[in-house]
Amino acid sequence: MLRIEYAYWLIAAFLLYTGLRNLRERHVWHAAFWLVLGALFGAGDLVLRQQAAGHPLPAQLAGVGVIVLALLAPRLRRHPHVEDNSTAERLRSAIALGHRLLVPALLIPLVTLLVALFGAYLAIGGHHLFATAQMTLTGLALACVIALFAAARVARAPLHAGLGEGRRLLDAIGWAALLPLLLAALGEVFTRSGVGAAIAALATTWLPTGSALACLITFALGMVLFTIIMGNAFAAFPVMMAGIGLPLLIRQHGADPAILGAMGMLCGYCGTLLTPMAADYNLVPAALLELRSPYGVIRAQVWSALWILAATFVMMWLLVFRFHH
């Protein structure tokens, strides 16, 4: 059975390869960074199993690893990705290969789509081919492997050439690849430290609770601001709901819960478009597309986010008190 853990082991192998290549080229800091990260990926399941069984030592070591990564990150200079062949060479190859080049690239979304749609029905000898947990992502990992084989065939290049190219892209992305995981960890620490409860307590002390509009504005802006701080609307939602949405808007002012929940969450999504803390959507793509400014994607999104927020807020204000329950 194909499980998501296999994908993590593949990533670990790729990270260790990247680290070893850097070591051989005497880029010591890069090598150390990718090797530590590769070890964390490879040992991840062990860490989670031991933690669940009440043995915190592996998780504590992983925590030390995270701190080591943070200390190494400033040492990695983001060097732009240099192609080793010239534009003319690539153009010649593009003309010779034509649309065949698109096939492996399109295989990635296509295989992922097929696994997402039909993966649950695939079985060999009564055993399901895919584990149900994270099936789409397992499909994505499988699609990447299939696409690599297809790409090697189309380009008439050996497989390890693909690893070499992938490694150069990864070096170009650098520490930005790591940020989403760290921000998720930060979110956990914030939750455990009671940061959300403290913010909700501060907000409600100043709020004129008799005004439904004032409560709704505070709720919507709170969702946006808290999402900007946490990088994730899912973290903001329970805090704002428990602090303002449920006691004031629903219980006191009779707001419709379905509308308040759905549209309040969407206000948070607008915040996600505005914050470097949502690194996987905003900073990683900037690195992946080799933009010169890490904030280029956010800048391109600001006005869309503000207009969508305004539209959502107006609709919420018009609808949420109409449907008394």
């Binding site: 003309i95 520490w175 478009l273 280029g296 959502t312």
Partner: protein
């Protein structure tokens, strides 16, 4: 109420404003917040380690890099650009709005992993967009190219965000339903997802309009450039 952990947020804001390395800033904020909340060093380390490895799925995109790197080495981006240049009817706005619609519809069906920055934007959408922009304004410079790639990435994000919240079987809708049922309010997922539709439509209209305005800005610059070269 212990307000000291809020200093973690101050660390984030100051760190980002002073442009320290974001990785270092985030880890420092986590340590500050955790220690100020009274966690022991041992608990904090375990919490950091456990939550870091629990979100490993966020680095899955690196698995696309070998295939994409190999294809780019063999001229994928050059091919996407040449192909785009030949397609006469496909303007920049139509390309990006078409992608937005497709991305949003797929996300509505819960298929968010199918497209993405690594899977589709870098290898296909960005180079095709560059070629479409070059049809309007042949003298694109590096800053223009950065802008265009950023617009392509923004379009992917907006399509994904404001499509996935309409999907009933995962993520946002289930979180909302779960929160309410913990507090004694029972709602069906469908009744929540339904109220995400107005924003989904608004997001599509707003981003499409902004793409169209972006194209018109390029067209105006092209017109000015052609007048200048004529005189």
């Amino acid at each position: 109420m212990n307000y000291w952990p809020l200093l973690g947020i101050a660390v984030i804001v100051i760190g980002f404003v002073l442009r320290f390395n974001p990785v270092l800033v985030v880890v420092t904020a986590a340590i500050a917040s955790g220690l100020l909340a009274g966690l022991t060093a041992a608990d904090l380390l375990a919490l950091l380690g456990e939550s870091f490895v629990s979100s490993r799925m966020l680095m899955l995109f690196v698995l696309t890099l070998p295939a994409i790197g190999l294809l780019e080495h063999a001229g994928l981006r050059e091919h996407a650009q040449r192909w785009m240049a030949r397609l006469k009817g496909l303007t920049l706005a139509r390309l990006l709005i078409g992608y937005l619609l497709l991305r949003q519809l797929l996300a509505t069906l819960g298929l968010t992993g199918v497209a993405g920055h690594a899977q589709t934007v870098r290898p296909l959408l960005a180079p095709m967009g560059e070629a479409a922009a070059a049809k309007i304004l042949p003298s694109l410079d590096d800053a223009d190219r950065d802008d265009l790639r950023a617009v392509a990435a923004a379009t992917d994000n907006i399509g994904r965000f404001f499509g996935e919240d309409v999907f009933i079987a995962l993520g946002a809708v289930l979180l909302i339903q779960g929160f309410y049922s913990q507090h004694g309010i029972e709602l069906s997922p469908l009744s929540i997802a339904l109220w995400a539709l107005p924003t989904a439509i608004a997001a599509f209209v707003i981003q499409s309009a902004r793409i169209w305005l972006y194209q018109r800005r390029l067209q105006r610059r092209a017109a000015v450039a052609s007048i200048e070269s004529a005189t």
